[in-house]
Each structure stands twice: as structure tokens, then as C-alpha cells.
């Protein structure tokens, strides 16, 4: 990467770790066999794919036959939610999720509503937490699935998944969690958590794009999503992305082996950024919980300014971050997550998400802070909202 670029958008995607890429390489050029072919070249690929499956299962504390490869985290979410909803349609048509899910989950439920399902969207508190009591109250006799994300992609809030999954299990309802942001940051173990379905995506933990996985607990039946060949034990058709799954397994293995150190590194950077910004810039709030958040996630709302302007100016300084602002997506609505935690439209528009990764340094944090102070000041001088505020408060 360009030395003058500070990449702080790791929740959007990560680079592929060089050692991970090295492991993938032979499977593009030399060992290119189809895992379903019976000759040696095919068998070689099969062996590699199954080895990757075992490694991922080991990380999760699952059995290898419970891991199914997909082409993305979005596909895993779609499969889990639609597959579980339709497989249990005779039992009922009521589904439960939260208001702050990623669109890969939220829009599945929107689709299912159009298909005649009933969906309850659990609210969250001002930190972004789902209240387990709300889940308890929402479950009805015809509820078949609960889907609640592990950690939020925008504000980093980590849900009490174990507690929520236990409630669903007690009522005999399937529990899915979108763990796309959690994997690689948290020691996720499926049996300890008690989840039935779990989605992940390799490119969030230094693996390649275009590959994900769905954990399906043994005995849980969900309908197929991709129809075709007999791959993935007849559950997910399509020739395996051999190099991709090898990359995912290598990246995940590395992540699990270095979780503590990685967490410490990210937390140090996040704390430094949060503390410095809070000290040096007035009228700013930290979104999400200070403690129970993804270690590399910092989501800040700067009052009186708009997020896209902030991002563009940061970009001019070589800082690549993200926002919950409408303008980046081309829609006029600010982030549904920021609105769900109670932010006004105005405040939600002025939000910035910085997500640190392995290569970021404290010097970079300081550079970001210096530029934020300057840019926020400049944009506020330009803002009619700030002008009104100053006038009203007589400052």
C-alpha cells in the first residue's frame, strides 16, 4: 500500500495477509483440480478443501461436517435465514431479528415479509444492545427463527449472544447469528454460545474476498439455497472456491492463534483515538458501548457537520475511513443503526467510523487526531447549524 495512505476501514475489508496469499497461490495455477474429480489432481484439491474445513471447524469448536462454504457472508446470511424460515414453515411464520442488523440480514427479512412471514424487529438501547427480556417477550408459539448479529459493523456493539441464544433454545426456536464482524476479533465458539447457525466472511479477517461460510449445527435442517451439483454434502451446489477456502482457513487459524495480542493492539489504538478526540474536540459523541465493542471500532458523531464532507477531507489527507452518512450510499437516509440508537438525523449525518487493523500505529492515530481537529473546525466554520448554535448559546 502507498506509504502515505492510512487505511482505517478494516470493517469494510482487509487486505489478504501475505502468508495467507502464499498458501492460496498454488491452487490457482498448479493444483487447480476440481475437488469433485476422482483423479489425483482432483483428490489433491479435495484434500485441501477438507483440511480447510477441519481447520475452521477446530477454531469454532465445531465438527467439520457442520461447516459449509459459501461465496460470501451475505450468501451465508441469506441461506441461513431464508433456508430456516422455509424449512420450518409448517411450524410457523414468525421470525425475530434486531433493528440494527447488516443489510444482508435486514433485507432478507424484508423479502420474507413480502412472502407472507411476520417479522419482529427488536429495538436496541442507546448503546446498541438488544435487551434479552425483549426477546423473551417477542417469542410466540409460531416463532421459528431468531437472527441477531454478534457484533455491529457500524458501532461495534457486541451483543450478549450466549444469553440470547439460550432464550431461543429454551423455547425451541432456531438461533442464527451474523458473526461477520466478530470473527477474527472474538474467540467465537459455537457450543459455548449455543447458536444453531453462524455466518462468516473471510475478507474481514485478512482472508480473500468472495468466500464465506455458514455453520449449521448437526441436526438443524434448513432448505437449500443454491441448487445444482452435489457439493457441500448436497447442501450448497457449486464448485468449491478451493484457493478461497484455503485462504479463509489460513487467515482464521492465524487470527485465533493471535487473538489476545491483536485485541490488545487494536484496543490501544482505539482508546488513544477516543481519548484524544474527546479531549480536543467539543460536541462529539462516541456511538456504541465504550467497553463491549469490537476492539478496533471507533464510531464518532461530530455535531453540526456532515459525514461525507468529513470523509472527503480526510481522504485528501490520505486517511481512508467510512461514515454512516447518507451521502456515501447515495440515499438520503442516514444509517439505520445510528437512528435505532436514538441519534437525530442531524447528528447521525455527522458520523465517522474508523476501524483499525493490524498494521495501524499510534503515530497514525495521532496524525488522524491532528487532522480531525483541523477538518472538524473548518467544516463547523462553514456550517449554518454551528452558526445557529453559537448564536443561541451566546458564545
Amino acid at each position: 500500500m502507498d506509504k502515505n495512505i492510512i487505511y482505517v476501514d478494516h470493517a469494510a475489508t482487509t487486505y489478504v495477509k501475505p502468508e495467507v496469499f502464499e498458501k492460496m497461490k498454488p491452487y490457482f495455477t498448479e493444483l487447480f483440480g476440481n475437488p469433485s474429480s476422482i483423479y489425483a489432481l482432483g483428490r489433491e484439491s479435495r484434500k485441501a478443501v477438507e483440511n480447510a474445513r477441519s481447520e475452521i471447524a477446530f477454531c469454532l469448536g465445531a465438527h467439520p461436517t457442520e461447516i459449509y462454504f459459501t461465496a460470501s457472508g451475505t450468501e451465508a446470511d441469506n441461506w441461513a435465514i431464508k433456508g430456516a424460515a422455509y424449512a420450518n414453515i409448517k411450524k410457523g411464520r414468525h421470525l425475530i431479528t434486531s433493528a440494527i442488523e447488516h443489510h444482508a440480514v435486514l433485507h432478507c427479512f424484508g423479502f420474507l415479509e413480502k412472502e407472507g412471514f411476520e417479522v419482529t424487529y427488536l429495538p436496541v438501547d442507546e448503546k446498541g444492545f438488544v435487551n434479552p427480556d425483549d426477546l423473551k417477550k417477542a417469542i410466540k408459539p409460531d416463532t421459528t427463527l431468531v437472527s441477531i448479529m454478534f457484533a455491529n459493523n457500524e458501532i461495534g456493539t457486541i451483543q450478549p449472544i450466549k444469553e440470547l441464544a439460550a432464550i431461543a433454545r429454551e423455547k425451541g426456536v432456531l438461533f442464527h447469528t451474523d458473526a461477520v464482524q466478530a470473527m477474527g476479533n472474538i474467540d467465537v465458539k459455537v457450543n459455548d454460545l449455543g447458536v444453531d447457525l453462524l455466518s462468516m466472511s473471510a475478507h474481514k479477517f485478512y482472508g480473500p474476498k468472495g468466500v464465506g461460510a455458514l455453520y449449521i449445527r448437526k441436526g438443524v435442517r434448513i432448505n437449500n439455497f443454491m441448487h445444482g451439483g452435489a457439493q457441500e454434502r448436497n447442501k450448497r451446489a457449486g464448485t468449491e472456491n478451493v484457493a478461497g477456502v484455503i485462504g479463509m482457513a489460513a487467515a482464521l487459524k492465524f487470527a485465533y492463534e493471535n487473538l489476545e495480542e491483536y485485541n490488545r493492539h487494536l484496543r490501544k489504538l482505539s482508546d488513544r483515538l477516543i481519548d484524544s478526540v474527546m479531549e480536543r474536540i467539543p460536541y462529539v459523541r462516541l456511538n456504541g458501548d465504550r467497553e463491549k465493542r469490537l476492539p478496533g471500532n471507533v464510531n464518532l458523531s461530530f455535531q453540526f457537520i456532515e459525514g461525507e464532507s468529513l470523509l472527503l477531507m480526510l481522504d485528501m489527507k490520505g486517511i481512508q475511513a467510512s461514515s454512516g452518512s447518507a451521502c456515501t450510499s447515495g440515499s438520503l437516509d442516514p444509517s439505520h443503526v445510528l437512528l435505532a440508537i436514538g441519534l437525530s438525523h442531524e447528528t447521525a449525518h455527522g458520523s465517522l467510523r474508523i476501524t483499525f487493523g493490524e498494521r495501524n500505529t499510534e503515530e497514525e492515530v495521532d496524525y488522524i487526531v491532528e487532522n480531525l481537529v483541523e477538518i472538524v473546525g473548518k467544516l463547523r466554520q462553514m456550517s449554518p447549524l454551528y452558526e445557529d448554535f453559537v448564536r443561541k448559546s451566546g458564545k
Binding site: 453540526f304 457537520i305 456532515e306 461525507e308 464532507s309 472527503l312 477531507m313 485528501m316 452518512s325 447518507a326 451521502c327 447515495g330 440515499s331 438520503l332 442516514p334 437525530s344 438525523h345 442531524e346 449525518h349 466554520q381 462553514m382 456550517s383 449554518p384 447549524l385 454551528y386 452558526e387
Partner: protein, 144 residues
């Protein structure tokens, strides 16, 4: 996604600020849409001798405000009212489709400031620009 001209006007906006004792001030847009523009005009003998703005909004909103002040400076009030959003877009070498509403907002801001000027000077204000916003939103929901 933005033209060089847009980026130039965003990074180095012309005429940012307020005019003390302005002859006309207009504010359009709302926080819900994420864009608010405030336009200040100094008008002498029906000619816009100075224009300044303050904008809360995205890069395109700042750039359209900036170019609009340049386009209307030195023009008569009547001429300034003929500066359309299209002219704003053209002067910026284009805008992404999702940002076209910002150019409308700039046109509205000028119109609102002129309407204020006319109101203060006792002109007929039957056809004054009262639109509070830029976006389709206000057609269905009241502005905040």
C-alpha cells in the same frame, strides 16, 4: 465520483461566511436530508455585489453553494434568478446523479435569499420561494 471542479470548490470553497447587515438571507434544506444551505446577499441598485454562504452537507452541497455564489455575483437580481440548477451543474463539470438535488438546493438558496431581499424592500412577494428543502422527502413528510 466527483469532477475536479467539484473537488476544487469543495476543498477551496469561494465566499464562505456571513455578510453583516446583508440585504437578503435565505436558508433552504433540512437536517433530515443532510443538507442545509444558507445564502447571504449584499445588493446595491438591484445588483448582487456580494454573496456568501454557509452549508451543512456533503461535498456536492458545498461545491454547488460555492459555485452558485460565483455565478450570481455581479448579476442583477433578475439575472440571478435565471441561474438554474442546470447552470450550476454545468459550471461544476457535472454531478453524480445522486447529488443532483444539491444543485437544486443551490438554486433554491439563491431564490430564497432574493425573496427575503424583496420582502424587506416591499416588493410583491406572492411568488416567493418557500420550498424548505431539497429532497423528495418533504413531499411525504413534514420538515423537522
Amino acid at each position: 465520483m466527483y469532477s475536479e471542479k467539484v473537488m476544487d470548490h469543495f476543498m477551496n470553497p469561494r465566499n464562505v461566511g456571513e455578510i453583516e447587515n446583508a440585504d437578503g438571507v435565505g436558508q433552504v434544506g433540512n437536517a433530515k436530508c443532510g443538507d442545509i444551505m444558507k445564502m447571504y446577499l449584499k445588493i446595491e441598485n438591484d445588483v448582487i455585489v456580494d454573496a456568501k454562504f454557509k452549508t451543512f452537507g456533503c461535498g456536492a452541497a458545498v461545491a454547488t453553494s460555492s459555485i452558485a455564489t460565483e455565478l450570481i455575483k455581479g448579476k442583477t437580481v433578475e439575472e440571478a434568478l435565471k441561474v438554474t440548477n442546470k447552470a450550476v451543474v454545468e459550471a461544476l463539470d457535472g454531478l453524480p446523479p445522486a447529488k443532483l438535488h444539491c444543485s437544486v438546493l443551490a438554486e433554491e438558496a439563491v431564490a430564497a435569499a432574493i425573496a427575503d431581499y424583496r420582502r424587506r424592500h416591499g416588493y410583491d412577494n406572492e411568488n416567493d420561494h418557500q420550498c424548505p428543502g431539497c429532497c423528495r422527502r418533504c413531499e411525504t413528510e413534514p420538515a423537522e
